[in-house]
Amino acid sequence: MNRERNSQYHNVIAFLLLLLIIITVFAVFVGQYSISLSDLLDIITKKTDQTTGNTLKTAEHVLFQVRIPRIILAGLVGAGLSISGAALQGTFQNPLVSPDLLGVCSGAGFGAALGILLGNGSGLFTPVLSLAFGLISVLLVYFFTGTKNNINTLSVILGGIIVSSIFTALISLIKYVADSAETLPAITFWQMGSFANATYHDIKISFIPVVTGIVGLILLRWKINLLSLGDEDCYTLGINPNSTRWLIILFTALTTAGCVTVSGVIGWVGLVIPHICRKFVGVNHGYLLPASCFAGATFMILVDTAARNLTAAEIPVGILTALIGAPFFAAIYRRGKKTR
Protein backbone atom coordinates (compact mmCIF):
# COMPACT_ATOMS: atom_id res chain seq x y z
CA MET A 1 0.00 0.00 0.00
CA ASN A 2 1.26 3.40 -0.77
CA ARG A 3 -0.27 4.55 2.47
CA GLU A 4 2.01 2.09 4.24
CA ARG A 5 5.08 3.30 2.40
CA ASN A 6 4.15 6.91 3.06
CA SER A 7 3.53 6.37 6.75
CA GLN A 8 6.72 4.33 7.03
CA TYR A 9 8.55 7.29 5.55
CA HIS A 10 6.90 9.70 7.98
CA ASN A 11 7.79 7.40 10.84
CA VAL A 12 11.42 7.32 9.78
CA ILE A 13 11.58 11.09 9.47
CA ALA A 14 9.94 11.56 12.86
CA PHE A 15 12.39 9.09 14.36
CA LEU A 16 15.35 10.83 12.77
CA LEU A 17 14.15 14.19 14.03
CA LEU A 18 13.79 12.81 17.53
CA LEU A 19 17.22 11.22 17.30
CA LEU A 20 18.67 14.52 16.15
CA ILE A 21 17.22 16.32 19.15
CA ILE A 22 18.43 13.65 21.56
CA ILE A 23 21.94 13.60 20.10
CA THR A 24 22.07 17.40 20.16
CA VAL A 25 21.15 17.50 23.84
CA PHE A 26 23.65 14.74 24.51
CA ALA A 27 26.35 16.70 22.70
CA VAL A 28 25.59 19.80 24.72
CA PHE A 29 26.25 17.96 27.97
CA VAL A 30 29.20 15.82 27.03
CA GLY A 31 32.54 17.56 26.94
CA GLN A 32 35.95 18.03 28.46
CA TYR A 33 34.51 20.76 30.65
CA SER A 34 31.70 19.27 32.64
CA ILE A 35 28.48 21.19 32.92
CA SER A 36 25.87 19.89 35.31
CA LEU A 37 22.16 19.99 34.71
CA SER A 38 21.58 22.63 37.40
CA ASP A 39 24.33 24.77 35.89
CA LEU A 40 22.67 24.40 32.53
CA LEU A 41 19.28 25.43 33.85
CA ASP A 42 20.80 28.41 35.59
CA ILE A 43 22.53 29.49 32.44
CA ILE A 44 19.46 29.06 30.30
CA THR A 45 17.24 31.00 32.65
CA LYS A 46 19.85 33.73 32.66
CA LYS A 47 20.50 33.64 36.35
CA THR A 48 24.05 34.72 35.69
CA ASP A 49 24.83 38.24 36.72
CA GLN A 50 27.67 40.15 38.29
CA THR A 51 27.53 38.14 41.47
CA THR A 52 27.70 34.73 39.83
CA GLY A 53 30.81 32.74 40.36
CA ASN A 54 33.47 32.16 37.78
CA THR A 55 32.58 28.54 37.18
CA LEU A 56 29.12 29.38 35.99
CA LYS A 57 30.42 32.12 33.74
CA THR A 58 32.95 29.71 32.27
CA ALA A 59 30.23 27.14 31.78
CA GLU A 60 28.12 29.73 30.01
CA HIS A 61 31.00 30.63 27.76
CA VAL A 62 31.77 27.00 26.95
CA LEU A 63 28.14 26.36 26.19
CA PHE A 64 27.36 29.32 24.02
CA GLN A 65 30.69 30.15 22.48
CA VAL A 66 32.27 26.76 22.09
CA ARG A 67 29.81 23.90 22.07
CA ILE A 68 26.63 25.24 20.56
CA PRO A 69 28.18 26.85 17.50
CA ARG A 70 30.16 23.68 17.00
CA ILE A 71 27.04 21.50 17.22
CA ILE A 72 25.10 23.75 14.88
CA LEU A 73 27.92 23.78 12.37
CA ALA A 74 28.36 20.01 12.56
CA GLY A 75 24.66 19.50 11.96
CA LEU A 76 24.67 21.91 9.04
CA VAL A 77 27.71 20.32 7.40
CA GLY A 78 26.47 16.77 8.01
CA ALA A 79 23.13 17.59 6.45
CA GLY A 80 24.70 19.41 3.50
CA LEU A 81 27.23 16.74 2.61
CA SER A 82 24.70 13.91 2.94
CA ILE A 83 22.03 15.49 0.79
CA SER A 84 24.63 16.44 -1.82
CA GLY A 85 25.88 12.88 -1.93
CA ALA A 86 22.36 11.50 -2.31
CA ALA A 87 21.52 14.01 -5.05
CA LEU A 88 24.68 13.31 -7.05
CA GLN A 89 24.27 9.55 -6.73
CA GLY A 90 20.84 9.82 -8.28
CA THR A 91 21.83 12.34 -10.93
CA PHE A 92 24.77 10.29 -12.13
CA GLN A 93 22.96 6.96 -11.74
CA ASN A 94 25.72 5.63 -9.55
CA PRO A 95 25.41 4.85 -5.84
CA LEU A 96 29.18 5.02 -5.44
CA VAL A 97 29.45 8.74 -6.08
CA SER A 98 30.39 11.29 -3.39
CA PRO A 99 30.04 15.09 -3.24
CA ASP A 100 33.63 15.46 -4.41
CA LEU A 101 32.71 14.09 -7.83
CA LEU A 102 33.20 17.36 -9.65
CA GLY A 103 36.24 18.57 -7.79
CA VAL A 104 34.41 20.94 -5.44
CA CYS A 105 36.26 19.67 -2.36
CA SER A 106 39.62 19.96 -4.08
CA GLY A 107 38.79 23.41 -5.40
CA ALA A 108 37.62 24.66 -2.02
CA GLY A 109 40.67 23.04 -0.42
CA PHE A 110 42.91 24.92 -2.80
CA GLY A 111 41.17 28.19 -2.01
CA ALA A 112 41.63 27.61 1.70
CA ALA A 113 45.28 26.61 1.29
CA LEU A 114 45.86 29.74 -0.77
CA GLY A 115 44.20 31.83 1.90
CA ILE A 116 46.30 30.32 4.66
CA LEU A 117 49.45 30.81 2.57
CA LEU A 118 48.80 34.42 1.63
CA GLY A 119 46.94 35.60 4.70
CA ASN A 120 47.01 33.86 8.01
CA GLY A 121 43.79 31.98 7.77
CA SER A 122 41.68 34.35 9.80
CA GLY A 123 39.07 36.89 8.81
CA LEU A 124 37.07 36.64 5.66
CA PHE A 125 39.93 36.19 3.21
CA THR A 126 40.33 32.43 3.44
CA PRO A 127 36.64 31.50 3.49
CA VAL A 128 35.89 33.72 0.51
CA LEU A 129 38.72 32.14 -1.49
CA SER A 130 37.61 28.68 -0.46
CA LEU A 131 34.01 29.26 -1.47
CA ALA A 132 35.05 30.94 -4.70
CA PHE A 133 37.35 28.16 -5.82
CA GLY A 134 34.82 25.52 -4.88
CA LEU A 135 32.38 27.10 -7.32
CA ILE A 136 35.08 27.81 -9.90
CA SER A 137 35.87 24.12 -10.11
CA VAL A 138 32.30 23.39 -11.18
CA LEU A 139 32.48 26.21 -13.69
CA LEU A 140 35.64 24.67 -15.11
CA VAL A 141 33.90 21.31 -15.46
CA TYR A 142 31.05 23.06 -17.24
CA PHE A 143 33.42 24.61 -19.76
CA PHE A 144 35.32 21.38 -20.18
CA THR A 145 32.21 19.49 -21.18
CA GLY A 146 31.29 22.24 -23.61
CA THR A 147 27.84 23.63 -24.08
CA LYS A 148 26.58 21.13 -26.59
CA ASN A 149 23.13 19.77 -26.09
CA ASN A 150 23.58 16.07 -25.61
CA ILE A 151 26.36 15.92 -23.07
CA ASN A 152 26.66 12.51 -21.57
CA THR A 153 27.37 12.02 -17.91
CA LEU A 154 30.70 10.37 -18.61
CA SER A 155 32.22 13.59 -19.90
CA VAL A 156 30.98 15.47 -16.83
CA ILE A 157 32.64 12.89 -14.59
CA LEU A 158 35.85 13.04 -16.60
CA GLY A 159 35.78 16.82 -16.30
CA GLY A 160 35.48 16.40 -12.55
CA ILE A 161 38.47 14.07 -12.42
CA ILE A 162 40.58 16.52 -14.41
CA VAL A 163 39.64 19.57 -12.37
CA SER A 164 40.05 17.64 -9.13
CA SER A 165 43.55 16.49 -10.11
CA ILE A 166 44.63 19.98 -11.04
CA PHE A 167 43.52 21.48 -7.75
CA THR A 168 44.95 18.62 -5.72
CA ALA A 169 48.30 19.15 -7.42
CA LEU A 170 48.08 22.87 -6.74
CA ILE A 171 47.39 22.18 -3.06
CA SER A 172 50.53 20.06 -2.95
CA LEU A 173 52.43 22.88 -4.61
CA ILE A 174 51.27 25.32 -1.97
CA LYS A 175 52.27 22.90 0.77
CA TYR A 176 55.65 22.56 -0.87
CA VAL A 177 56.36 26.28 -0.82
CA ALA A 178 54.68 26.92 2.49
CA ASP A 179 56.69 27.75 5.56
CA SER A 180 57.01 24.47 7.42
CA ALA A 181 56.83 25.97 10.87
CA GLU A 182 53.33 27.40 10.86
CA THR A 183 51.72 27.56 7.44
CA LEU A 184 52.22 23.97 6.39
CA PRO A 185 50.77 22.49 9.61
CA ALA A 186 47.86 24.92 9.37
CA ILE A 187 47.05 23.77 5.84
CA THR A 188 47.48 20.11 6.71
CA PHE A 189 45.31 20.39 9.78
CA TRP A 190 42.67 22.27 7.82
CA GLN A 191 42.60 19.49 5.24
CA MET A 192 41.88 16.83 7.84
CA GLY A 193 38.50 18.35 8.53
CA SER A 194 37.61 19.65 11.96
CA PHE A 195 34.99 21.59 13.88
CA ALA A 196 37.41 22.80 16.53
CA ASN A 197 37.32 26.58 16.90
CA ALA A 198 33.95 26.74 15.22
CA THR A 199 32.38 30.13 15.78
CA TYR A 200 29.15 31.90 14.93
CA HIS A 201 31.26 33.65 12.31
CA ASP A 202 31.69 30.30 10.55
CA ILE A 203 27.99 29.66 10.75
CA LYS A 204 27.26 33.02 9.18
CA ILE A 205 29.65 32.31 6.30
CA SER A 206 28.34 28.88 5.49
CA PHE A 207 24.67 29.35 6.28
CA ILE A 208 23.56 30.96 3.03
CA PRO A 209 25.32 28.66 0.54
CA VAL A 210 24.59 25.48 2.47
CA VAL A 211 20.95 26.21 3.23
CA THR A 212 20.31 27.53 -0.28
CA GLY A 213 21.77 24.34 -1.69
CA ILE A 214 19.79 22.10 0.65
CA VAL A 215 16.53 23.87 -0.07
CA GLY A 216 17.19 23.75 -3.81
CA LEU A 217 17.91 20.03 -3.71
CA ILE A 218 14.84 19.29 -1.61
CA LEU A 219 12.67 21.13 -4.13
CA LEU A 220 14.23 19.21 -7.03
CA ARG A 221 14.27 15.80 -5.36
CA TRP A 222 11.61 14.21 -7.53
CA LYS A 223 13.33 15.42 -10.69
CA ILE A 224 16.39 13.47 -9.60
CA ASN A 225 14.32 10.30 -9.92
CA LEU A 226 13.73 11.10 -13.57
CA LEU A 227 17.38 11.92 -14.19
CA SER A 228 18.39 8.58 -12.76
CA LEU A 229 16.46 6.80 -15.51
CA GLY A 230 18.79 8.04 -18.23
CA ASP A 231 18.63 11.07 -20.47
CA GLU A 232 16.27 9.64 -23.07
CA ASP A 233 13.69 8.44 -20.58
CA CYS A 234 14.05 11.69 -18.66
CA TYR A 235 13.43 13.78 -21.76
CA THR A 236 10.44 11.79 -22.91
CA LEU A 237 8.96 12.08 -19.42
CA GLY A 238 8.93 15.86 -19.83
CA ILE A 239 12.12 17.17 -18.18
CA ASN A 240 15.11 18.64 -19.99
CA PRO A 241 17.86 16.41 -18.60
CA ASN A 242 20.78 18.72 -19.32
CA SER A 243 19.49 21.88 -17.66
CA THR A 244 18.07 19.98 -14.70
CA ARG A 245 21.35 18.14 -14.21
CA TRP A 246 23.38 21.34 -14.14
CA LEU A 247 20.91 22.96 -11.75
CA ILE A 248 21.35 20.07 -9.35
CA ILE A 249 25.12 20.21 -9.79
CA LEU A 250 25.00 23.91 -8.96
CA PHE A 251 23.06 23.34 -5.76
CA THR A 252 25.34 20.51 -4.65
CA ALA A 253 28.38 22.68 -5.43
CA LEU A 254 26.97 25.53 -3.30
CA THR A 255 26.30 23.17 -0.42
CA THR A 256 29.58 21.27 -0.62
CA ALA A 257 31.72 24.38 -1.06
CA GLY A 258 29.91 26.00 1.86
CA CYS A 259 30.60 22.95 4.02
CA VAL A 260 34.23 22.49 3.03
CA THR A 261 34.93 26.20 3.58
CA VAL A 262 34.13 26.02 7.28
CA SER A 263 35.00 22.47 8.16
CA GLY A 264 37.76 21.35 5.83
CA VAL A 265 37.55 18.14 3.85
CA ILE A 266 35.30 15.60 5.56
CA GLY A 267 34.96 12.45 3.55
CA TRP A 268 32.70 9.44 3.55
CA VAL A 269 29.66 11.16 5.00
CA GLY A 270 28.27 12.07 1.61
CA LEU A 271 28.80 8.51 0.40
CA VAL A 272 27.69 6.39 3.35
CA ILE A 273 24.72 8.26 4.81
CA PRO A 274 22.57 7.97 1.65
CA HIS A 275 23.35 4.26 1.55
CA ILE A 276 22.17 3.78 5.10
CA CYS A 277 19.05 5.83 4.47
CA ARG A 278 18.16 3.74 1.42
CA LYS A 279 17.80 0.73 3.69
CA PHE A 280 15.10 2.53 5.66
CA VAL A 281 13.24 4.72 3.20
CA GLY A 282 13.94 3.02 -0.11
CA VAL A 283 15.55 4.38 -3.27
CA ASN A 284 12.94 6.97 -4.20
CA HIS A 285 14.82 10.27 -4.01
CA GLY A 286 11.64 12.03 -2.97
CA TYR A 287 12.07 10.32 0.39
CA LEU A 288 15.82 9.73 0.36
CA LEU A 289 16.96 13.33 0.26
CA PRO A 290 15.10 14.65 3.33
CA ALA A 291 16.03 11.49 5.26
CA SER A 292 19.70 11.89 4.33
CA CYS A 293 19.58 15.46 5.58
CA PHE A 294 18.45 14.55 9.08
CA ALA A 295 20.53 11.40 9.31
CA GLY A 296 23.63 13.25 8.15
CA ALA A 297 23.18 16.02 10.70
CA THR A 298 22.71 13.51 13.51
CA PHE A 299 25.69 11.45 12.43
CA MET A 300 28.00 14.41 12.17
CA ILE A 301 27.05 15.79 15.60
CA LEU A 302 27.64 12.35 17.07
CA VAL A 303 31.03 11.92 15.42
CA ASP A 304 32.10 15.44 16.35
CA THR A 305 31.14 14.77 19.96
CA ALA A 306 33.32 11.68 19.82
CA ALA A 307 36.10 13.67 18.18
CA ARG A 308 36.31 16.10 21.06
CA ASN A 309 35.78 13.57 23.83
CA LEU A 310 37.50 10.34 22.93
CA THR A 311 40.94 11.51 23.88
CA ALA A 312 42.33 14.49 25.74
CA ALA A 313 43.61 16.05 22.56
CA GLU A 314 41.02 16.45 19.86
CA ILE A 315 40.94 14.12 16.86
CA PRO A 316 40.08 15.86 13.58
CA VAL A 317 36.59 14.85 12.55
CA GLY A 318 37.64 13.97 9.00
CA ILE A 319 39.86 11.20 10.36
CA LEU A 320 37.04 9.73 12.42
CA THR A 321 34.52 9.76 9.59
CA ALA A 322 36.98 7.87 7.41
CA LEU A 323 37.81 5.37 10.16
CA ILE A 324 34.12 4.78 10.83
CA GLY A 325 32.79 5.25 7.33
CA ALA A 326 35.13 3.11 5.28
CA PRO A 327 34.82 -0.15 7.26
CA PHE A 328 31.11 0.45 7.62
CA PHE A 329 30.80 0.82 3.88
CA ALA A 330 32.78 -2.37 3.35
CA ALA A 331 30.44 -4.16 5.74
CA ILE A 332 27.23 -3.07 3.97
CA TYR A 333 28.73 -3.82 0.60
CA ARG A 334 29.69 -7.33 1.65
CA ARG A 335 26.31 -7.94 3.25
CA GLY A 336 24.68 -6.75 0.04
CA LYS A 337 26.75 -9.18 -2.03
CA LYS A 338 25.83 -12.10 0.20
CA THR A 339 22.13 -11.56 -0.17
CA ARG A 340 22.40 -11.64 -3.95
Binding site: G90, K223, S228, L229, D233, L237, N242, S243, G282
Partner: protein, 258 residues
Protein backbone atom coordinates in the same frame (compact mmCIF):
# COMPACT_ATOMS: atom_id res chain seq x y z
CA UNK B 1 -4.76 15.36 -37.32
CA UNK B 2 -2.46 14.66 -34.44
CA UNK B 3 0.93 13.94 -35.97
CA UNK B 4 2.18 15.69 -39.07
CA UNK B 5 5.62 15.14 -40.54
CA UNK B 6 6.61 17.58 -43.29
CA UNK B 7 9.66 16.87 -45.44
CA UNK B 8 11.62 15.57 -42.51
CA UNK B 9 15.26 14.79 -43.20
CA UNK B 10 17.95 13.57 -40.87
CA UNK B 11 21.62 12.73 -41.15
CA UNK B 12 24.15 11.87 -38.47
CA UNK B 13 27.12 12.83 -40.64
CA UNK B 14 26.65 15.31 -43.44
CA UNK B 15 26.46 13.59 -46.76
CA UNK B 16 24.99 10.38 -45.36
CA UNK B 17 21.28 11.00 -44.98
CA UNK B 18 19.32 8.43 -43.05
CA UNK B 19 15.89 9.94 -43.53
CA UNK B 20 14.92 11.85 -46.67
CA UNK B 21 11.76 13.87 -47.21
CA UNK B 22 9.59 11.97 -44.80
CA UNK B 23 5.97 13.01 -45.17
CA UNK B 24 2.93 11.52 -43.54
CA UNK B 25 0.26 12.32 -41.01
CA UNK B 26 -1.68 10.40 -38.39
CA UNK B 27 -5.15 11.08 -37.06
CA UNK B 28 -6.62 10.20 -33.72
CA UNK B 29 -7.60 6.55 -33.42
CA UNK B 30 -4.97 5.48 -35.96
CA UNK B 31 -2.06 3.14 -35.44
CA UNK B 32 0.99 3.22 -37.67
CA UNK B 33 3.56 0.43 -37.78
CA UNK B 34 7.11 1.38 -38.76
CA UNK B 35 9.11 -1.46 -40.23
CA UNK B 36 12.39 -2.00 -41.98
CA UNK B 37 15.66 -3.83 -41.78
CA UNK B 38 18.05 -3.60 -38.84
CA UNK B 39 19.93 -0.35 -38.71
CA UNK B 40 17.84 1.34 -41.37
CA UNK B 41 16.77 4.21 -39.16
CA UNK B 42 13.44 3.21 -37.59
CA UNK B 43 14.53 4.32 -34.13
CA UNK B 44 16.07 7.47 -35.61
CA UNK B 45 12.72 8.32 -37.19
CA UNK B 46 10.96 7.85 -33.87
CA UNK B 47 13.52 9.95 -32.05
CA UNK B 48 13.14 12.79 -34.54
CA UNK B 49 9.35 12.76 -34.20
CA UNK B 50 9.57 12.74 -30.41
CA UNK B 51 12.26 15.43 -30.29
CA UNK B 52 15.18 13.48 -28.87
CA UNK B 53 17.02 14.16 -32.15
CA UNK B 54 16.62 17.30 -34.26
CA UNK B 55 15.45 17.08 -37.86
CA UNK B 56 18.21 18.25 -40.21
CA UNK B 57 15.55 19.68 -42.50
CA UNK B 58 11.79 19.84 -42.38
CA UNK B 59 9.79 19.45 -39.21
CA UNK B 60 7.14 17.44 -37.42
CA UNK B 61 4.28 18.68 -35.30
CA UNK B 62 2.13 17.07 -32.68
CA UNK B 63 -1.20 18.91 -32.55
CA UNK B 64 0.43 21.94 -34.15
CA UNK B 65 3.38 21.98 -31.72
CA UNK B 66 6.74 21.54 -33.42
CA UNK B 67 9.16 19.06 -31.96
CA UNK B 68 12.33 20.72 -30.67
CA UNK B 69 15.37 19.27 -29.02
CA UNK B 70 15.30 21.12 -25.72
CA UNK B 71 11.58 21.30 -25.19
CA UNK B 72 9.96 17.95 -24.45
CA UNK B 73 6.41 17.79 -25.78
CA UNK B 74 4.15 16.74 -22.98
CA UNK B 75 1.41 15.28 -25.13
CA UNK B 76 3.65 12.44 -26.29
CA UNK B 77 3.79 9.21 -24.35
CA UNK B 78 7.00 7.38 -25.20
CA UNK B 79 7.55 3.74 -24.34
CA UNK B 80 11.20 2.66 -24.63
CA UNK B 81 12.27 -0.93 -24.80
CA UNK B 82 12.27 -2.51 -21.37
CA UNK B 83 15.66 -1.98 -19.76
CA UNK B 84 17.16 -2.27 -16.31
CA UNK B 85 17.21 0.82 -14.18
CA UNK B 86 20.07 1.95 -11.96
CA UNK B 87 17.94 2.10 -8.82
CA UNK B 88 15.37 -0.50 -7.82
CA UNK B 89 12.27 1.72 -7.86
CA UNK B 90 8.94 0.11 -7.12
CA UNK B 91 6.47 -0.39 -9.96
CA UNK B 92 4.06 2.12 -8.50
CA UNK B 93 6.81 4.74 -8.14
CA UNK B 94 7.95 4.12 -11.72
CA UNK B 95 4.46 4.78 -13.03
CA UNK B 96 4.03 7.91 -10.88
CA UNK B 97 7.28 9.26 -12.32
CA UNK B 98 5.25 9.82 -15.47
CA UNK B 99 3.41 12.55 -13.59
CA UNK B 100 6.50 14.29 -12.21
CA UNK B 101 7.49 15.94 -15.47
CA UNK B 102 4.00 17.27 -16.05
CA UNK B 103 3.38 19.19 -12.90
CA UNK B 104 4.68 22.55 -11.85
CA UNK B 105 8.45 22.47 -11.62
CA UNK B 106 8.69 22.04 -7.88
CA UNK B 107 5.67 19.86 -7.17
CA UNK B 108 5.78 16.34 -5.79
CA UNK B 109 3.24 13.63 -6.67
CA UNK B 110 0.19 13.58 -4.40
CA UNK B 111 -2.46 11.07 -3.40
CA UNK B 112 -4.40 11.67 -6.60
CA UNK B 113 -1.40 10.90 -8.74
CA UNK B 114 -0.79 7.65 -6.90
CA UNK B 115 -4.47 6.74 -7.23
CA UNK B 116 -4.26 7.36 -10.97
CA UNK B 117 -1.18 5.15 -11.16
CA UNK B 118 -3.01 2.38 -9.31
CA UNK B 119 -5.91 2.74 -11.70
CA UNK B 120 -3.75 2.35 -14.78
CA UNK B 121 -1.86 -0.59 -13.30
CA UNK B 122 -5.21 -2.23 -12.65
CA UNK B 123 -6.43 -1.62 -16.21
CA UNK B 124 -3.27 -3.25 -17.50
CA UNK B 125 -3.61 -6.22 -15.23
CA UNK B 126 -0.44 -5.66 -13.23
CA UNK B 127 -1.88 -4.13 -10.07
CA UNK B 128 -0.49 -7.06 -8.08
CA UNK B 129 3.03 -6.01 -9.03
CA UNK B 130 2.71 -2.49 -7.71
CA UNK B 131 5.08 -2.92 -4.74
CA UNK B 132 7.61 -5.08 -6.55
CA UNK B 133 10.96 -3.65 -7.52
CA UNK B 134 11.30 -2.93 -11.22
CA UNK B 135 14.57 -4.80 -11.39
CA UNK B 136 12.88 -8.00 -10.26
CA UNK B 137 10.36 -8.08 -13.09
CA UNK B 138 10.58 -10.06 -16.28
CA UNK B 139 11.12 -8.15 -19.53
CA UNK B 140 7.47 -8.47 -20.43
CA UNK B 141 6.21 -7.21 -17.10
CA UNK B 142 8.62 -4.28 -17.19
CA UNK B 143 7.42 -3.42 -20.68
CA UNK B 144 3.87 -3.16 -19.33
CA UNK B 145 5.09 -0.89 -16.54
CA UNK B 146 6.70 1.44 -19.08
CA UNK B 147 3.48 1.52 -21.07
CA UNK B 148 1.53 2.36 -17.91
CA UNK B 149 3.98 5.18 -17.23
CA UNK B 150 3.47 6.59 -20.72
CA UNK B 151 -0.31 6.41 -20.43
CA UNK B 152 -0.66 8.13 -17.07
CA UNK B 153 -0.78 11.57 -18.67
CA UNK B 154 -3.34 10.63 -21.32
CA UNK B 155 -1.00 11.41 -24.19
CA UNK B 156 -2.27 12.35 -27.66
CA UNK B 157 0.48 10.42 -29.38
CA UNK B 158 1.72 7.09 -28.06
CA UNK B 159 5.09 5.93 -29.36
CA UNK B 160 6.37 2.41 -28.72
CA UNK B 161 9.83 1.19 -29.67
CA UNK B 162 9.67 -2.57 -30.39
CA UNK B 163 7.34 -3.33 -27.50
CA UNK B 164 6.93 -7.04 -28.30
CA UNK B 165 10.65 -7.71 -28.15
CA UNK B 166 10.72 -9.57 -24.84
CA UNK B 167 7.27 -11.10 -24.84
CA UNK B 168 6.05 -14.63 -25.34
CA UNK B 169 3.29 -15.16 -27.91
CA UNK B 170 0.44 -14.88 -25.48
CA UNK B 171 1.76 -11.65 -24.02
CA UNK B 172 2.37 -10.35 -27.51
CA UNK B 173 -1.29 -10.80 -28.35
CA UNK B 174 -2.35 -9.26 -25.06
CA UNK B 175 -0.11 -6.28 -25.74
CA UNK B 176 -1.50 -5.76 -29.22
CA UNK B 177 -5.07 -5.90 -27.95
CA UNK B 178 -4.19 -3.50 -25.16
CA UNK B 179 -2.72 -0.99 -27.60
CA UNK B 180 -5.69 -1.31 -29.93
CA UNK B 181 -8.14 -0.72 -27.10
CA UNK B 182 -6.26 2.23 -25.64
CA UNK B 183 -5.99 3.88 -29.03
CA UNK B 184 -9.63 3.46 -30.00
CA UNK B 185 -11.05 4.32 -26.57
CA UNK B 186 -9.08 7.52 -26.28
CA UNK B 187 -8.89 8.45 -29.96
CA UNK B 188 -5.13 8.92 -29.76
CA UNK B 189 -2.53 8.34 -32.44
CA UNK B 190 0.03 5.60 -32.09
CA UNK B 191 3.32 4.68 -33.74
CA UNK B 192 4.90 1.28 -33.18
CA UNK B 193 8.35 0.24 -34.25
CA UNK B 194 8.07 -3.44 -34.94
CA UNK B 195 9.88 -6.36 -36.47
CA UNK B 196 6.68 -8.36 -36.85
CA UNK B 197 4.78 -7.57 -40.05
CA UNK B 198 1.97 -9.87 -38.98
CA UNK B 199 1.39 -7.72 -35.94
CA UNK B 200 1.15 -4.75 -38.24
CA UNK B 201 -1.43 -6.62 -40.26
CA UNK B 202 -3.50 -7.21 -37.13
CA UNK B 203 -3.62 -3.75 -35.61
CA UNK B 204 -2.05 -1.10 -37.81
CA UNK B 205 -4.17 1.23 -39.94
CA UNK B 206 -1.14 2.60 -41.72
CA UNK B 207 2.24 1.06 -42.44
CA UNK B 208 5.57 2.75 -42.99
CA UNK B 209 8.28 0.73 -44.68
CA UNK B 210 11.66 2.41 -44.37
CA UNK B 211 14.31 1.60 -46.95
CA UNK B 212 17.81 2.81 -47.48
CA UNK B 213 17.00 5.43 -50.07
CA UNK B 214 13.24 5.69 -50.02
CA UNK B 215 10.18 4.67 -48.09
CA UNK B 216 6.60 3.64 -48.56
CA UNK B 217 3.71 4.82 -46.42
CA UNK B 218 0.00 4.29 -46.68
CA UNK B 219 -2.91 2.13 -45.63
CA UNK B 220 -1.91 -1.32 -44.50
CA UNK B 221 -3.52 -3.43 -47.23
CA UNK B 222 -2.01 -1.19 -49.93
CA UNK B 223 1.51 -1.08 -48.52
CA UNK B 224 1.88 -4.62 -47.26
CA UNK B 225 2.27 -6.63 -50.42
CA UNK B 226 4.63 -9.46 -51.22
CA UNK B 227 6.43 -7.16 -53.62
CA UNK B 228 7.04 -4.43 -51.05
CA UNK B 229 8.20 -6.99 -48.55
CA UNK B 230 10.68 -8.23 -51.09
CA UNK B 231 11.93 -4.70 -51.75
CA UNK B 232 12.11 -3.43 -48.19
CA UNK B 233 12.96 -6.59 -46.26
CA UNK B 234 14.90 -8.49 -48.88
CA UNK B 235 12.81 -11.57 -48.22
CA UNK B 236 10.49 -13.68 -50.35
CA UNK B 237 7.11 -14.13 -48.71
CA UNK B 238 3.71 -15.56 -49.25
CA UNK B 239 0.53 -13.90 -48.06
CA UNK B 240 -2.44 -15.93 -46.98
CA UNK B 241 -5.94 -14.79 -46.09
CA UNK B 242 -8.40 -16.59 -43.88
CA UNK B 243 -11.41 -15.93 -41.69
CA UNK B 244 -11.18 -15.71 -37.92
CA UNK B 245 -14.05 -14.63 -35.71
CA UNK B 246 -15.82 -13.08 -38.66
CA UNK B 247 -12.80 -11.05 -39.58
CA UNK B 248 -10.57 -11.41 -42.63
CA UNK B 249 -7.01 -11.96 -41.45
CA UNK B 250 -3.98 -11.70 -43.72
CA UNK B 251 -0.65 -13.14 -42.65
CA UNK B 252 2.72 -13.37 -44.29
CA UNK B 253 4.96 -16.37 -44.20
CA UNK B 254 8.62 -15.65 -44.88
CA UNK B 255 10.35 -18.06 -47.14
CA UNK B 256 13.81 -17.20 -48.32
CA UNK B 257 16.16 -14.28 -48.57
CA UNK B 258 16.39 -12.50 -51.90
Amino acid sequence: MILDVQNGCFEYLSGKPILKNIMFHLDGGQIMAVMGRNGIGKTTLIKCIVGILPWSEGFSTIEEVRSQVNKPIKSIGYVPQAHKVSFAYSVRDMVVFGKVGHQSYLAAPGKNDYALADDILDKMGIYDLRDHSCNELSGGQLQLVFIARALINSPRLLVLDEPEAHLDFRNQIRLLNLIKNVVSENKIACIINTHYPNHAMRIADQCFLLGEHDYRVGLTPEVMTEENIRTYFGVHSYSHQFQYNGEAVTTFTFLDEV
